[in-house]
Subunit: 191 residues, 4 copies
Amino acid sequence: MHKAEVRDRIIHAAIESFSQAGFDRTKMDDIARRIGLSKGTLYLYFKSKEDLFIAISEHYINQLREPLDAEAPTREDLVADAEQFYETFRKIGRPGDDRVIFEMLVESTRNPRLKKAMHEHRLRVHGVIVSYLQRQVERGFFRSDIDIDSLAWAFMSAWVGLTIYKLCGVSEPTVKKAWASMMRAAYAGMG
Amino acid sequence: MHKAEVRDRIIHAAIESFSQAGFDRTKMDDIARRIGLSKGTLYLYFKSKEDLFIAISEHYINQLREPLDAEAPTREDLVADAEQFYETFRKIGRPGDDRVIFEMLVESTRNPRLKKAMHEHRLRVHGVIVSYLQRQVERGFFRSDIDIDSLAWAFMSAWVGLTIYKLCGVSEPTVKKAWASMMRAAYAGMG
Amino acid sequence: MHKAEVRDRIIHAAIESFSQAGFDRTKMDDIARRIGLSKGTLYLYFKSKEDLFIAISEHYINQLREPLDAEAPTREDLVADAEQFYETFRKIGRPGDDRVIFEMLVESTRNPRLKKAMHEHRLRVHGVIVSYLQRQVERGFFRSDIDIDSLAWAFMSAWVGLTIYKLCGVSEPTVKKAWASMMRAAYAGMG
Amino acid sequence: MHKAEVRDRIIHAAIESFSQAGFDRTKMDDIARRIGLSKGTLYLYFKSKEDLFIAISEHYINQLREPLDAEAPTREDLVADAEQFYETFRKIGRPGDDRVIFEMLVESTRNPRLKKAMHEHRLRVHGVIVSYLQRQVERGFFRSDIDIDSLAWAFMSAWVGLTIYKLCGVSEPTVKKAWASMMRAAYAGMG
DNA sequence: CATGAATGAGTCTTCATTCAT
DNA sequence: AATGAATGAAGACTCATTCAT
């Protein structure tokens, strides 16, 4: 079990490094020193820098979060929920997570292995949102002629975009309000 | 004039390289070879690799595109316009542009000079969208109680998110339909 | 006794490794894994990788093989014996031995300790061959004006050369026939 | 042409290094410093350490030396020639050459590309010796029932063996006399 | 005795940058 | 203006060796 613990510490140090410097500018030495280990030790746990990064990515990708399960009792609550959505999401991840996920996004545009994994993850998330919207249609909260599939992609995109904006320095409240307004408008238009 | 032309060719070669490989993995040599110049020559035009990248970024940042100027005659046309928006945008940029802009986004999270420039650009785009929405409110096409500022951010985010999804392999039609659905819903909700 | 047995198993695993990969590319880890021991354990038996190699070398060097003791009854038998020589030698060593001995040869050109040991071994073998040839001269099988000393070196060289050729992919029958032809010609010339 | 000259200097520095330390223990840095260049420069001329080594090997392999062309007027001269053979050979190569060729031999037992090249070279040398012996048979200097093919291999082996013995510290005169005695005996036996 | 986790010096290789021509 | 040879700092990765358990 000790080994698993060290592995874990490496992963967290790596997340920090990758978050701060990005994949290419992160040095194995830097990761090692963050936890008082030597460079060589990292290679006992991960075959290469890329492997370490992929391990982290898979760690995230496998955490499928489903914050959309609860049913809002009324249509108004539904809107309120959607607005809360951002807050909910934000609280789940450790600080810094967004940044690594961004790195994963960047890397995935070049690394086929990562690209595939992230695409599958995206499809799973999409599925969750689709079935959520489906339920609301069935409950009569949304019109039945909406394009659920496309809207799910749109919501996901907006989420990704806002996350990136935040990384680029757009303030948290701005981002949160943007999400809420969008949700309010869209839900109104869908109802 | 000759000098400006060479500079231009370098910039375009660099855009291609940065698009394909990202900033860190782009080699000066690669850029040079694309236009049959020697590595050394690049340094006559740009002080460093970073400088070249910043020059490209500024080149993009200064291209403020305002495709929202035309006034739709009816509310229905407005919605149709918004749906066309994606198509419009897509046609403006050369293929590959998205990718460099993504690189710029990545870099801007670390490079203060770039961060500032991109933030200013973002504010300008935001301003354009805000005044566009404003006009629609004034024309009575949108309700006057909407949070124009936040919605502008939301639209921009959705745009950025979709662009990134496209880079990650989400198909063009999917992305386009997502944008259209979102716009239709939001405009309906705002009306 | 148990200790001697483990030591022996290490030596044999090492011989295999050195044979396959050569001294420099053999990893202590590889040797250890071949016999299900841990790397650390090797160091309880041998101070260093070099020490282990030297131990192996000495193991071989001390095996002075004297297949030249039997007296051929006639001159014709002598020639036949010489032709069989190759076969005889070949059977004595385990397969793979040639390869380690080649490694020893290589190393001995750099490692003084090994160089000395191998030189002494060489002199001993030379001595055996010299006295063998001497006996044949005394029996009147070879002319008395031959340069026994030099011929002994020549035979040894030819042997070494053929062994190396075999390692380099020259076929066993080719090598064997080469030895036989050489011996037949030389013995004829010496008779 | 300047480039070819630098390339040549690198090759010679490399030959020295490989001769002294062997492939694995030769450091690119060491090669570079021998000729006052930087490590990086080597990589402008050779893709990798292995490539540099292969280049050297091919350089040697392509030098097919044919010192057997001259016809001896008498049978006695033939023997004398053969005895001189060693001397002749020795003079052709630069000092140190034997050592690299030995390294090539070692490497060729593992590197398929090198193995093939050296085998082809070996076959060419073999061909030269075979036709030399053939000529002597035709001239009536050697008996026609000798196994020319096998004898050619035997001579080559003896040569290789002596070369290696020399590298291992056997003295030059010893080696030379060994060759002469062997040749005298074999030629006598073949005549 | 045995282990195997940890080490860190050592090496190859890359590539942005410089500069003499 | 252009070249391209040369540089050397930087960084990933390896592996013999050590040592606490």
